[in-house]
Amino acid sequence: MIDDTPALPPELLLRVERLTMRFGGLTAVNDVSFDVRRGEITALIGPNGAGKTTVFNCITGFYKPTVGRLTLASKEGPLLLERLRDHQISRKANVARTFQNIRLFGGMTALENLLVAQHAPLMKASGLTVLGVLGIGGFNKAERAAIEKAKVWLERIGLIDRADDPAADLPYGDQRRLEIARAMCTEPVLLCLDEPAAGLNPRESLELNALLRSIRDQDDTAVLLIEHDMSVVMEISDHVVVLDYGKKISDGAPLHVRNDPKVIAAYLGVEDEEVEKVESEIAVEATS
């Protein structure tokens, strides 16, 4: 599996090539290619129904792409994501994701939510529970380390005082950040966030920006996010990919994308001829 997969350039973490996803007669994603670089926040934007979440679902193993290749530079070499099953996406490929709606384990405490995310190594250390119950082996040490790591994350998202409260009792913005912390506890190389700022008030939005920046700068994790809130996108992303009707229409730095007439047209709903007109006008301005 690793043999036939060409290695990516070292600065790239994920390369999406010619991704196409059809549902019956509907083509939700059509021939989309883009790269996610290490140490960057990449934003995937586009009007409703542009196919952003479908791209996410392909990357995280929910859908098998109709056509296309998703190469991830994992710790053990290049890996084709479209060939992995869901729990392998977390364990082998180290890709974590969140959803548009909050999917915390509401009945469990904030701390336990973060411990579940460290389940695979803990389960190994506990020898399928049998040794763990008997207190044999490195289980106690592993469990302590896991709790320690969970506490570090609770500290980072400012929820250390509420560690033992059920996750469902936390305010909405805190739940969002807890969900991101939980995803981070799986030690991902790529963190996929589906509309993390949806429903946040301006203060919570700022806290989220700070958290995402700290993840980019302190942890060895690249972030790929879908977002409608342009203030968040323009503020924190290093690289923006724009989709419209399943096709990629623009790709580049936030400033470049913001001034791209195609993007403006897609968001304002302008006819194609008008786009050409705007484009030619810009060309005229540029030459004059």
């Binding site: 977390s90 994701r97 999917r103 384990f105 389940h119 803990l122 529970t129």
Partner: protein, 304 residues
């Protein structure tokens, strides 16, 4: 008063056995939302395992009872767990993601299969175990009525309490328990966080089967005879207990088991023995009508 005390002790003993079986129902329901109707027959298989190991040990000349009991307990748990695992692997896992009724039908099929397998392999006659544990305590003979607590009853209640404490700790404190609770709430999300959902479900069946086999051993010690059909009635009663306590809730299953045991015993003691099953199943009907989420269950919240 002594009569009441005697019945209370009998009821608690019977309730312990029901409670142990009910935990298997409730854990499996919690994690995959399905009633494992073959669970009563796993209990029956467990009691046969216990009988076979017991007879083998007696034939080998192991007569020191605490040691023999311990060996029987461990071996019966291990062998029956294997059954629990296999049942899940063969009858339920291939149907996961299929329509809701499919695993229920295959559960009933599995139940019939297990009964018939044991009937063919062990014969249809009742199998006796010579009374291996004798003796007990007697209290209060003031007005001539003696309250008997047999050693078997003491063993049953003590073992049940110990196992329930141990399993509660596993569910609340270990990574396996956390994974089980996570799968209960959101299986897809748990998988995305690296929890092997299939293995967690398998281990849940294994835990349920292990507890059912202990119940099987208790039943064998208490009544002294077993046959291939004991799983049906005991299973349905334990299911009633799980529903009464609130299906999906571990403490609920224990409480429900205890209550069903007490109701059945007191009904037999003060009314008619013939209608004791009617009493137990009336409870099922009444609970389903007036308290569908049980005594300790969470009410089903409609997601909008």
């Amino acid at each position: 008063m002594e009569y009441f005390l005697q019945q209370l002790i009998n009821g608690v003993t019977l309730g312990s056995i029901y409670g142990l079986i009910a935990i298997g129902y409730t854990m499996v329901y919690g994690i995959i939302g399905m009633i494992n109707f073959a669970h009563g027959d796993v209990f029956m298989v467990g009691s046969f395992m216990a009988l076979i190991v017991f007879l083998a040990l007696l034939a080998l000349g192991v007569t020191f009872m605490p040691l023999a009991l311990l060996i029987v307990l461990i071996l019966a748990m291990a062998l029956t767990s294997l059954y629990g695992w296999t049942v899940e692997r063969i009858a339920y896992r291939p149907l996961r993601g299929s329509f809701r009724l499919a695993p229920l039908i295959s559960a009933i099929g599995m139940s019939i299969f297990l009964q018939n397998m044991v009937q063919v392999a062990q014969g249809a006659r009742v199998k006796p175990l010579p009374p291996v544990i004798t003796g007990g305590y007697q209290f209060g003979a003031a007005d001539g009525f003696v309250v008997n607590v047999s050693n078997v009853q003491v063993i049953i209640v003590v073992t049940t309490i110990a196992l329930m404490v141990a399993f509660s700790l596993i569910v609340s404190k270990t990574p396996l328990g956390r994974a089980q609770r996570a799968c209960e709430q959101d299986r897809k999300m748990a998988a995305l966080l690296g929890v092997d959902v299939d293995r967690t479900i398998s281990l849940t069946f294994v835990m349920g089967a292990a507890l059912a086999s202990v119940a099987g051993l208790m039943y064998l010690l208490y009544y002294g005879v077993i046959d291939f059909y004991i799983g049906f009635v005991a299973g349905v009663k334990a299911f009633t207990a799980a529903v009464l306590g609130g299906i999906g809730s571990l403490p609920g299953a224990m409480l429900g088991g205890l209550l069903i045991g007490l109701i059945e015993t007191f009904w037999s003691a003060y009314f008619t023995v013939e209608y004791k099953d009617v009493a137990a199943f009336s409870i099922l009907a009444i609970v389903l009508i007036f308290l569908p989420s049980g005594l300790l269950g969470r009410p089903e919240v409609e997601k909008v």
